[in-house]
C-alpha cells in the first residue's frame, strides 16, 4: 500500500510549501488572476461568514485507504487522532451553537477509538443532522467494523459516502485495488438496513469526485447516470449525489504537479469561475475543527495550516459571535469551490 506524503517526507506534506506553489507561478506573474481580486470584482472581498449552520469536525487523519486524490493526506500511517477531551469540548460547543448539522470527517472517522461514544453523545444532545463521511470500505475492513451499518441506523446517522465511479476500473485506480467490490458490498448492507431507499428517513448520499485532472460534470446528470448504473448492475439505491471538485492541495496537488497537469487544471478552475457560487461557498456557513481542536474556515484550510483569522482560534475558547466577525482566509485553492455550479461538502452551491 502507498504511504502518505507525510510519511514519505514529501515537501507537499507542508501547508506552507503548498501555499507557496499556489501563490507563485502563473498567479504571481499575472497570467491568471488571484482569487482575492476575482471576488473583489463582485464586492465579496474580504469574504465573510453568514450564520453558522455546520460544525465540521475532523476526528483524525488515520484512514484504511490511501487515495491518490486525498486532500487530507490520510492513511494508515497518520497518527493524528482527536482525543476524548477535545471531543468533549466539541460537544460543549454543539450544545451552545446554532449549528443544525454536525459533520464528522477524517481520515476514516470510524477509526477514532472514541467515534461511537462521540456519535452517541451528540445524538443525545439532539443534533438534527449527524453526518458521517464514511469511505464505505471501512465497514468491510475489519470484523470490528462489520456492525457499523447497525450502529449508524441506531443513531439515525446520515451516511455520506465517496464513490468515484460506477465502474470498477476508475474506482480502484483512484482509491486502491479492491475498493470497488468492498464499496458495493458496504452499500448493499446499508440498503438492507433501509439506508438510501426512496422513502427512507435513513439518509445515504454519495460523493463523486473526478479521478483525474478534470472537473466534475453536471451534478444532476451524473446522479441520473450513477443511479441507473448502480441499480441495474447491483440493485443499489441511494438518495443524492454530491459532485465535488478536487481542490489543488495535498496529494491532489502532488498528482497535478507530477503528471504535469497543474497549470492546465488551474486554468480550467479559473475559466470555470462562477461569481454566483461565491456567496454560498462552504466556509460561509461552516466552521472546521481540527483533530487537535484548532479552528479553520474549512477542511481545506485546515490541511494548509490556515487557522481562522479571529481572536478565537481553538475549540476550548469557542465564541460564535467573535468567530462570525472574521474575514475568511483565502488563496488560489478557493477557485475549486467556485468552479461551475460551485463545490462544497454538500455538492454544488448554486
Amino acid at each position: 500500500m502507498k504511504e502518505s506524503l507525510h510519511k514519505r517526507n514529501n515537501q507537499l506534506a507542508n501547508g506552507k510549501r503548498q501555499l507557496e506553489i499556489l501563490n507563485n507561478g502563473i498567479f504571481a506573474s499575472g497570467e491568471l488572476p488571484k482569487f482575492a481580486d476575482k471576488i473583489a470584482e463582485i464586492g465579496h472581498f474580504p469574504l465573510r461568514p453568514k450564520s453558522l449552520e455546520v460544525l465540521q469536525i475532523n476526528v483524525g487523519y488515520m484512514c484504511n485507504q490511501v487515495c491518490a486524490h486525498c486532500h487530507v493526506d490520510a492513511g494508515p500511517d497518520r497518527k493524528e487522532i482527536m482525543t476524548k477531551e477535545t471531543m468533549q469540548q466539541c460537544l460543549d460547543v454543539i450544545k451552545k451553537t446554532g449549528a443544525h448539522t454536525l459533520d464528522l470527517t477524517g481520515g476514516a472517522p470510524e477509526m477514532n477509538p472514541n467515534f461511537r461514544w462521540f456519535v452517541e453523545k451528540a445524538s443525545r444532545l439532539g443534533v438534527k443532522d449527524i453526518i458521517v463521511r464514511s469511505n464505505l470500505t471501512i465497514i468491510r475492513a475489519n470484523k470490528k467494523y462489520y456492525d457499523l451499518p447497525d450502529f449508524f441506523k441506531e443513531y439515525n446517522v446520515h451516511v455520506v459516502s465517496s464513490m468515484p465511479h460506477w465502474t470498477r476500473g476508475k474506482t480502484d485506480k483512484q482509491r486502491g485495488e479492491g475498493v470497488f467490490a468492498k464499496s458495493i458490498k458496504a452499500l448493499e448492507e446499508l440498503n438492507e438496513r433501509g439506508y438510501g431507499l426512496p422513502d427512507s428517513g435513513l439518509k445515504l448520499d454519495l460523493v463523486y469526485n473526478p479521478s483525474g485532472a478534470f472537473l466534475p460534470g453536471d451534478q444532476s446528470a451524473m446522479e441520473k447516470d450513477f443511479k441507473k448504473a448502480l441499480f441495474e448492475d447491483f440493485g443499489i439505491q441511494f438518495h443524492d449525489l454530491f459532485a465535488i471538485t478536487n481542490l489543488p492541495i495535498s496529494r491532489f496537488l502532488d498528482y497535478l504537479i507530477v503528471s504535469e497537469n497543474y497549470e492546465d487544471y488551474m486554468y480550467a478552475l479559473v475559466e470555470a469561475y462562477n461569481p454566483a457560487a461565491v456567496a454560498n461557498v462552504m466556509c460561509t456557513n461552516t466552521i472546521s475543527v481540527g483533530w487537535d481542536g484548532w479552528l479553520y474556515d474549512c477542511d481545506f484550510n485546515q490541511m494548509l495550516g490556515l487557522k481562522v483569522a479571529s481572536k478565537v482560534t481553538h475549540i476550548s475558547k469557542y465564541n460564535e459571535k467573535l468567530l462570525n466577525d472574521r474575514n475568511i482566509v483565502i488563496s488560489q485553492h478557493c477557485y475549486g469551490c467556485t468552479a461551475g455550479a460551485g463545490s462544497s461538502c454538500q455538492g454544488t452551491v448554486t
Binding site: 476500473g169 478534470f214 472537473l215 460534470g217 446528470a221 451524473m222 447516470d225 450513477f226
Partner: protein, 111 residues
C-alpha cells in the same frame, strides 16, 4: 511564433477569434454553446458524437477538448473508443463506397 503548426496552448485562445470579427465570432460561440445543451439528445450523447467527429476531422484541439469533456461527464473509456470506431467506420465506409464508382467506371470503360 511556435515552430509547429499545432500548439496545445492555442486551444485556450480559441475565444480570441472574435477579436478580428466580433459579430460573427460571437454568433458562432452562441450557436456552439446552444448545440451542446441538453436537448432531444442528452449533453452526454452529444459529447460522444463530438468526440467521434473530432477524430474524423482529425482536429487535435477537439480531441483534447472532448476527451476531457467526456471524462467530466463520466463517460467511460470503452464508450469513448466505441465512438471513435463509429466515426472511423463511417469514414472508411465513405472511402469504400466510392469503390462502387470505381467499379462502374471500370465496367463502363471495359469491353
Amino acid at each position: 511564433m511556435s515552430k509547429s503548426y499545432y500548439d496545445p496552448a492555442d486551444l485556450k485562445k480559441f475565444g480570441k477569434i472574435t477579436e478580428w470579427s466580433e459579430e460573427i465570432g460571437n454568433k458562432f460561440f452562441e450557436y456552439y454553446g446552444k448545440v451542446f445543451e441538453e436537448g432531444a439528445l442528452s449533453a452526454r450523447e452529444k459529447s460522444l458524437i463530438a468526440l467521434a467527429v473530432s477524430h474524423v476531422v482529425k482536429c487535435p484541439y477537439c480531441i483534447d477538448a472532448y476527451t476531457k469533456d467526456g471524462l467530466q461527464k463520466g463517460i467511460t473509456k470503452e464508450e469513448m473508443m466505441e465512438a471513435v470506431h463509429a466515426g472511423a467506420a463511417i469514414e472508411s465506409g465513405a472511402t469504400l463506397v466510392h469503390g462502387v464508382q470505381m467499379m462502374n467506371k471500370y465496367d463502363k470503360l471495359s469491353m
